[in-house]
Structure formats: C-alpha cells, structure tokens
C-alpha cells in the first residue's frame, strides 16, 4: 500500500475514471466541482486519495463535518469512498476511512455518518465491517 494524501486538481482525471469504472457514468463536472470545494478548502472538508507505490490512484474518500443537518449535532459525514476493484481486500478502504475519521476527531466530532444504497451490499458490508450501525435518521423519498 502506498500513501494517503490530500487530493489535488491533477487527480481529477484518475478520480473521474475510477468513478466511471465503478458506476458506469462519467461525471467530470461533478468531480471537478467537488474537488474545487473540498480539496484545499476549509479545514472541515476533506478529499483524500490513496496512491499505490507507483503513484497510481488506488482510491479516494470525501467527507465533511456538518452540524445540525437533519436536526443532529455535529458529525463527520462520508460522502464518497471508492477503491479500485483490482486493489480491493488490501485494506485501502479501511485506511481511507480511518484517515477521514482521524481528521473528523481532530475537529472535535465524535460521530461519523454516511448514506448507502440499501441494495449495494458491498459498500454496506464495508461500512458495517468498520463498526457502523443504523444511525438516528431514516431517509425518505418520493417521486416529483
């Protein structure tokens, strides 16, 4: 395993490509805007990348401390966490998650949260294996 570092603008093509391979959709504008908002932004926003020893992108994680969202006190929110499928089961996701949690803790929060598609058993299992359980909120939605 290589290193974890803060994302930089030069990471955009590799991030967009990894997300495209995982989701089947190209979202270049979304990732560019996310990088602009999170990478090198305010200290409560984090965009981390994991690199292989040869410097290739192994995965990335995005998170932010937010207070009073949905009536809840401050918590660290994980918005994205993706690992190259060829590099899975090497602890990269866990390292990214641990690093995000460490940064959240440094900011004084004591809880970490995320939202997961309940049909995505792979990512659900990952967060469960990190000790996460059902949170205090229940997501609701409807067609408009």
């Amino acid at each position: 395993m290589g290193t974890i570092r803060a994302a930089e603008p030069a990471d955009l093509p590799a991030i967009t490509d990894l997300d495209r391979r995982l989701t089947g959709e190209t979202k270049a504008t979304y990732w560019q805007q996310t990088l602009e908002r999170y990478a090198g932004g305010p200290p409560d926003r984090h965009f981390l990348v994991a690199e292989t020893d040869s410097g290739a992108l192994a995965g990335f994680a995005v998170g932010e401390v937010r207070a009073w969202e949905f009536g809840q006190p401050a918590a660290g929110w994980v918005f994205a966490l993706q690992v190259d499928p060829k590099l899975r089961l090497k602890g990269i996701g866990t390292t990214l998650f641990d690093e995000l949690c460490a940064r959240f803790r440094e900011q004084g929060v004591r809880r970490v949260r995320t939202l997961v598609d309940r049909r995505d058993h792979l990512i659900l299992s990952f967060f469960r294996s990190q000790g996460m359980v059902a949170g205090p909120s229940l997501e609701l939605d409807r067609e408009l």
Partner: protein, 131 residues
C-alpha cells in the same frame, strides 16, 4: 423483527462455531450454552451442515466445526436457510384489496430494510470486537 426459534439457533450455532473454526463442539455442548434442547439444536445443525457451513456430528456426542467462509457468509445467508424467502409465502385474505395492497407496500419496505441489514453483516463483522 421476529425470527423463528430455529433461525435464532442457527445464527447462535453458526456464530459460536465460526468464533474458532479449529474447535469442535457437539450439539449437546452448543445446546447447553444456549439453554435449549440438544435434539432441537441437532436438527438446526443438520440444516447448517447441508448448506456447507458446518461439518461433522455423528451421533449425540459427535462434534461440529465451522467450515464456511466467515468473511463471505452473512447473517442473511443463515437466516435464509430457515425462513421463507420474501414473496414466497401464501397470499393472505384481503391482500388484493386497495387497503391490503397499501399494507403490503409498507410490509415490503420493512422486509427490504431488514434484508439489507442482515445481508450487510458478515459473521466476521459480528465476531470482531466492536470499535
């Protein structure tokens, strides 16, 4: 969520044996741990054995050990051995009415959340000390 007794015993036995795959425990050992009849547990162990999750158990004193994959086996895999699959049950009176259909949508939502929860927790995750 209400699970049948056999399902709960299946989860107890699978988890207890998966705790140490090298260890062999008899149906009587396991029954004593959980305070249930060895006869009842032997039946549950036969189901787990047919699914390849445990092996062994000749006679009342025969030992069982875990032979599945802790990381790949989820709570849902064990539950599905004992509980009817969602949607596989016989229709109940009133289900075809608008009220019955509305109620079915609510119950299906609950089932989907329960299944997602059970499917996302591996035996490995259950047995790991909480962080």
């Amino acid at each position: 969520m209400k699970l049948q007794t056999a399902t709960r015993l299946g989860l107890y036995a699978a988890l207890e044996l998966a705790r140490d795959p090298e260890r062999t425990l008899s149906a009587a050992d396991l029954a004593e741990r959980f305070g249930v009849s060895a006869h009842h547990l032997a039946k549950v162990l036969r189901t787990l054995s047919a699914a390849g999750l445990v092996r062994g158990g000749r006679g009342a004193t025969g030992g069982y050990r875990f032979t599945g994959n802790r990381r790949r086996t989820t709570l849902m895999d064990v539950v599905a051995l004992f509980e009817p699959a969602p949607g596989r049950r016989a229709p109940e009176p009133g289900e075809a009415t608008p009220i019955g259909q509305g109620l079915q949508r609510v119950l299906a939502e609950i089932d989907e959340i329960a299944e997602a929860t059970l499917r996302s927790i591996s035996l490995e995750t259950m047995l790991r000390p909480r962080r």
